[in-house]
Symmetry: C2
C-alpha cells in the first residue's frame, strides 16, 4: 500500500446506477481525484439476492477494480456493504470504505432523541448492519427498520414524485412513524431521489440522512491519513464500466449525474 | 429425439418465480407428466437486461435442463421467449415451446375487433415479438404495447390489489385505453396475479389473455404429435431448481402454487 501512487484512481462500486449519487459527491468534493465507477448491471438488483451471491458478485467486481490499479475502493451499495465487506477485504489489499458506518455516524450526529429509522432493501434490513453499527456507536439508541423493495424500481422508472410513490412511501414508513423516529437513514443509494416525497410523508421535523456526503468525507479522510490524496489543481479522469447494457447505463447515468458521461465500457464476468 | 422416453420430464424455465403460473397449469392439465422447474434467481429480472445477456443466461439454463434429460423445454419467460429462442435452439436438440405465439393466437381467437394491447417488460415490448407474431397471424390487426416495469416488483412484494397497484395500472394502461383495445395480452408470467386490478382498470368489455392455458395446450399438442405423452394414470414427479436463494424461492413458490413444494435445489452458473 505504501507504494500506491497518489494519482491512482478511486474505485466506486454499486450493483447498478444508485451509486452514482455517491460518485457525484466524490467528483464534486475531490475534482482532482480520478474515479472509476462499476455498475454490476448484469446482476442488479442485489437487494433480493442471497448473502452468498452478494458476496460472490461483490468480490468479482472488487478484484476487477483492483486490477485497474485503484488506490481505494468505495462500496457505494448498501446491500453489498451490509453483507460483503469481509469477502471483499479478503480478495483486495487496498482500503475499502463501506456505507454503513458513515451513515450510522451521520444519523447519530444529527439525531436529537436517538430514535433512528433505517430504510433499505430486503437484504440490507435483514442484515441488521445499521442496527449493529448504531448500537455500537451509541448503546441507548433505538432503531426501527423498514424494507422498501419498491423504491429502487420506482426510482429507475423515473417516478420520483406523484401519487404512486407517495402512496408507497406512506405504506412503507408507517412503522417508522409509529416508532416516532426523529432521523431516518436512507439506506440505499437510490433513495436520495425520493427525498422530497419522504420529507413530505415523514414530516419536516424528521431528519433524512443521505449518506453520500458522509461517505465522501470518510473517503477523503482515509486518503489523507494514508498520504494518498491526489495533488490539488489536477483534473481527475472519470471512467465507467457496466457488466451489462452499457448504452442503457450511459443514458441513465447522464440523466442522474446531470453531466456528460464518457463511453461506458462493458465488462462481463460470466 | 426419436429415442426420447415418454416418461422423461418436461422442463419449465423462467427468470424467477413468474413461470410458476405456467407450471401450475401444466401440472393441473397433465398430472402424469414429470416437471422440472428452473428459476434463474441469480439473474432475475431479465426485463431490463440486454438481449445478449438474456440469450446467454437462457442458453445456460436450457443446457442445464437438457442435461437433466428433459423431453421438451417450455420457455415460460416472455422476455426470454422474445429474445432468446434462436440461441436456445442452437444449444439444445429438444422441442422448445415459447410463450409469444400461443399468446398471440389466444388473443386473436377472442378479439372481436382485432385491436390488441400487449403489456410486458421493457425488453419484451422493445423486441416487438408480439406485434410481429400477431401481424403474421392476422395482417389487419392493430397492436398497441405498453412496458410495465413496476408490475413485477409489485407482484413480488405481494401488492396484488389496493390503491398503489391500481394507480400504477391506470398510468401504464392509459395508451391502451386511448387506442380502444378490445383484448390485452398479459405478456409476462407475473401479470396474471394482477388480473382483478387490470380488469377493473381496463373495463369489463376488454378481454385479458393469460397465456398459461394456451402454452399448456401447445405443450400438450407438441408432445402428442411427437408421440411423447406420458402414460395416463401415472403420477409425475415435480422438481425445482433456483440459481440463487433456493429457500426464499421455495417459500414464495409454496404461496404462489398453493401447494407444498419439494426441496428447491441450488444450481449456480458463475
Amino acid at each position: 500500500m505504501a507504494r500506491m501512487k497518489k494519482t491512482a484512481p478511486i474505485g466506486v462500486f454499486d450493483s447498478g446506477l444508485g451509486g452514482l449519487t455517491v460518485f457525484k459527491v466524490l467528483a464534486r468534493r475531490m475534482p482532482e481525484e480520478s474515479l472509476i465507477y462499476f455498475g454490476d448491471t448484469a446482476h442488479v438488483p442485489y437487494g433480493s439476492k442471497s448473502p452468498e451471491a452478494i458476496a460472490r458478485f461483490s468480490s468479482e467486481v472488487a478484484k476487477f477494480l483492483a486490477g485497474r490499479g485503484i488506490k481505494l475502493l468505495v462500496v457505494a451499495c448498501n446491500t453489498s456493504s451490509a453483507w460483503a465487506l469481509p469477502a471483499i477485504r479478503k480478495v483486495v489489499k487496498i482500503p475499502v470504505v463501506g456505507v454503513i458506518e458513515p451513515g450510522a455516524r451521520a444519523a447519530l450526529g444529527v439525531s436529537r432523541g436517538g430514535r433512528i429509522g433505517v430504510i433499505g432493501t430486503e437484504a440490507t434490513v435483514k442484515s441488521e448492519a445499521y442496527v449493529k453499527a448504531i448500537k455500537k456507536l451509541r448503546k441507548g439508541a433505538r432503531v426501527s427498520s423498514a424494507a422498501c423493495p419498491l423504491f429502487v424500481p420506482l426510482v429507475e422508472e423515473g417516478w420520483w414524485t406523484g401519487e404512486v410513490v407517495e402512496a408507497v412511501a406512506k405504506k412503507y414508513s408507517a412503522p417508522l412513524r409509529a416508532a416516532k423516529v426523529d432521523t431516518v437513514i436512507l439506506g440505499c443509494t437510490h433513495y436520495p431521489y425520493l427525498k422530497p416525497v419522504l420529507a413530505k410523508v415523514m414530516g419536516s421535523r424528521v431528519r433524512l440522512i443521505d449518506s453520500a456526503e458522509e461517505i465522501a468525507r470518510e473517503t477523503e479522510s482515509v486518503l489523507c491519513k494514508l498520504g494518498l490524496r491526489a495533488p490539488r489543481g489536477r483534473k481527475g479522469r472519470r471512467e465507467f464500466y457496466a457488466s451489462d447494457a452499457p448504452e442503457r447505463f450511459g443514458r441513465l447515468a447522464r440523466r442522474m449525474l446531470g453531466t456528460p458521461v464518457s463511453k461506458v465500457k462493458l465488462h462481463k464476468f460470466d
